[in-house]
Symmetry: C2
Subunit: 470 residues, 2 copies
């Protein structure tokens, strides 16, 4: 019971210190207290408020402040500030703050970080600042960071942490445990041990739980798993992320072009990659690039204008198509009010199919047989939905305008456009994918342009023919 009470007290204490409200947002009163302390440069109060926070929470706090307050916070904490909090904030916040903090302070902070976090902070800095900071680091760390920074952006080599534990296969479990107990310079956290030869080629891995449940005399060679997944340093981080997902991995060794172990990727970094990549598709489909919530107004405008220009061009094309039927519309102005219905339904149906396809392509779900099944399904769905909505809109139109012929014309146009929508929705992303373009970027423009053009054209042309208006 004492134990339970202790535990209970600890929890109550943490409730009082808790700085998040019910919704999981930072408590406004807490934040106000911090901002007052920052404005008054009350170092003791600032340290007391920030020190108990987890790294990610400190990151959230930084995001909620203004630039001068962020600087004041970092300066007030001094060497107690954990620079890994900066890996948890938006890029624009990080760059603004690192611009303000003196390089000497950054260098001291970076020296305490694991190599993956250090690279994350350094990679987007201006070259002159980055070199200045690197020059202030101990030689060993400088070289290891430089090597990581030489790998391409968003590669496994950039994301990896250079600290890992490698042992020879002829050791025993006992020797390994003794080594781990004696060695001071181990990674902060690790989940498996790499078994390597003299040239650092990976022979196998030993998960820590297996090491712990095995008796001391057993040899590592007997214990290790040889069925291992490795990443190449030049691989895209997305490829590595797919392996983590597919094979439920916690940690993966990273090897260089000579197959020598140079670092490890851990699942916590990969979770961020998966989150980013998943968000990327949705943003690309909507034409908002790699925007972040904290981007400036100007950056936001810059990121959105190109997509809107493309859409302006396709809207003008659609307008030219409608213009072909001026005479028809003049004779029967009801067509003008009805025509957007056909186009809009096509756009929505096409977007549905396209979204499913883009997502499946992003997750590499489409192999030969599944792909053929999907294409067939989408076309059949187009036909069925076409028939359903042709009947609905046909009846509504015939009643609204007391004109059965008009109902028939719009029904026919609807069937045509929904079949086209299904077909375009699947074939356009697939074609872009085959052409090695990212289907998430360009599919939406193509699909809606096609459903708009076909929607307006089919409806107006059929109406012209049916009513003899040409």
């Amino acid at each position: 019971m004492t134990d339970y009470n202790d535990n209970h007290q600890a929890e109550t204490a943490s409730e009082a210190n808790r700085f998040r409200d019910e919704e999981g947002r930072i408590d406004p009163a807490w934040l106000m207290r911090l901002r007052t302390a920052l404005a008054a440069a009350q170092t003791a109060e600032i340290v007391e408020m920030i020190a108990p926070l987890r790294t990610a929470d400190t990151g959230d706090v930084l995001e909620s402040l203004e630039n001068p307050e962020r600087l004041a916070l970092v300066m007030a904490l001094g060497d107690r500030f954990d620079y890994s909090a900066l890996t948890e904030v938006d890029e624009s916040v990080r760059l603004d703050l690192l611009e303000l903090v003196p390089n000497a302070d950054i260098a001291r902070g970076v020296a305490n970080l694991s190599s993956d976090d250090a690279v994350y902070l350094l990679e987007d800095l201006e070259t002159v600042d980055r070199d200045d900071i690197l020059a202030q680091l101990p030689a060993f760390e400088r070289l290891s960071l430089k090597r990581s920074l030489d790998f391409p952006e968003e590669s496994a080599g950039r994301r990896m942490q250079s600290e890992f534990i490698a042992i020879p296969p002829f050791w025993t479990v006992g020797q390994t445990i003794d080594y781990l107990r004696a060695e001071r310079d181990l990674p902060d956290e690790f989940y498996q041990i790499y078994v390597v030869d003299a040239s650092y080629h990976v022979l196998g891995i030993v998960p820590l739980d297996r090491l712990l449940r095995t008796r001391r005399p057993v040899s590592i060679e007997q214990l290790m798993t040889t069925d291992i997944v490795l990443a190449h340093a030049n691989d895209d981080q997305e490829e590595a992320a797919r392996d983590f997902e597919r094979y439920d991995l916690i940690e993966v060794g990273v090897v260089d072009e000579n197959e020598r172990l140079v670092g490890v990727l851990t699942v916590d970094d990969i979770v961020d990659v998966i989150q980013e990549e998943a968000g990327e598709d949705i943003r690309l489909l909507a034409g908002v690039g790699d925007e972040e919530v904290s981007d400036s107004t100007l950056d936001t405008v810059k990121s959105r204008v190109p997509w809107l220009i493309v859409n302006l061009c396709t809207a003008i094309v659609v307008s030219l198509v409608i213009g072909l039927f001026n005479a028809t519309i003049e004779q029967m102005v009801a067509l003008a009010a009805l025509m957007p219905i056909v186009a809009s339904m096509g756009g929505n149906a096409g977007t549905q199919t396209m979204t499913v396809t883009v997502r499946a392509l992003a997750m590499r779900e489409l192999s030969g047989r599944k792909l053929r099944r999907l294409i067939t399904r989408e076309m059949v769905v187009g036909v069925i939905n076409g028939i359903i909505f042709a009947i609905l809109i046909g009846i509504v139109t015939a009643i609204r305008f007391a004109n059965v012929d008009l109902g028939v014309v719009i029904a026919m146009a609807m069937i045509i456009n929904l079949i086209v929508a299904g077909t375009a929705g699947i074939l356009i992303p697939l074609t872009l994918d085959r052409l090695k373009a990212d289907p998430a970027i360009a599919s939406a423009v193509f699909v809606t342009t096609i459903t708009d053009v076909v929607g307006f054209f089919a409806f107006l042309a059929l109406a012209g023919l049916w009513f003899g208006l040409f």
Copy 2:
């Protein structure tokens, strides 16, 4: 050097056995060989081809087959078939296959699974099948699975694995290691050890790496971390996933309503949750629900029709708005061709803002100050984009129709609609979120309906006034 050669040979061998092509898809020739073996019931060949595969790869193979072949594969492998492969396939594939396999075989397979995988297979089965299978399991497993199945769907309790390692605080490192070496009934994989009191309240955790680097006499109480994150069994799995992301966790203890430890969540399950949730937003925005690529045609139609019906209704409303201006359009038919441009640009700009907002809400990125900043930014972006595209379309229109007045009218309508688009794009998802509705589901309809109505209305009404056509 011998080591390297051995390693190299191992790699060449695995290349020959490799069943994926360059693109990471299942090799068609390999698949054809398997299908032939399945058709001819060549058990030895089937076992030889499937046995070396990882679980996830077996799942991919199952997805590429037809139902009778899937059954043949499971039956040919018999007790060698790892039922956890079924956690890696689409729901429709899993349910189809489990329907075909006799319950007695499923029960034998389920008995060998970790509890989280077992629950995953059982949860979507018909009650009668599920009870039949549970009845064939050993009592201990049956009870533990029943308890997990009693937690709500998509809760931490459903996702958790009931196997974990719990020790008292008064043990030493040495005692713990001896226990791990002696005990036969340990979880398959584990990353941390839970320190509990006699009632299974969690006092702390010990990561395995820390256990390994500490000398035998040190007490667990000294070694354990008390700053721990726990999940409640009734919590939504998304909430738990956010903690994993935020705090870079590998494993989290799950407690029941009495704060007693009942299971653990591991990051590999959470990666799947994150992937699903990220995909959910994109699908909801496009109105395709929780569809999967392998869903049947009928299920697909059912999932898409509701959204299309909503869109049909809003399209009819838009059409009624246009109908108000029949007389205006009749007098100046060029308006009919131009009006979709204003509406379409508004729709696109609104979708951009809405996507950024929905995504930020999903990731809980919007606290008070950031939110106010975002609202201001989006409105200013609306004004700037409004001006840019007003000028562009104004000039194009004035030239195309040799009519400066028409250019002025469309420019004014464009500014109005892009400001409305930015405002609606941010306020609609925020309002839905405040009303506890999922902004990803309904935002798109509201935003595009508003930009359509405002786009057509502003343009046609301004034209009517400017040219005196009313």
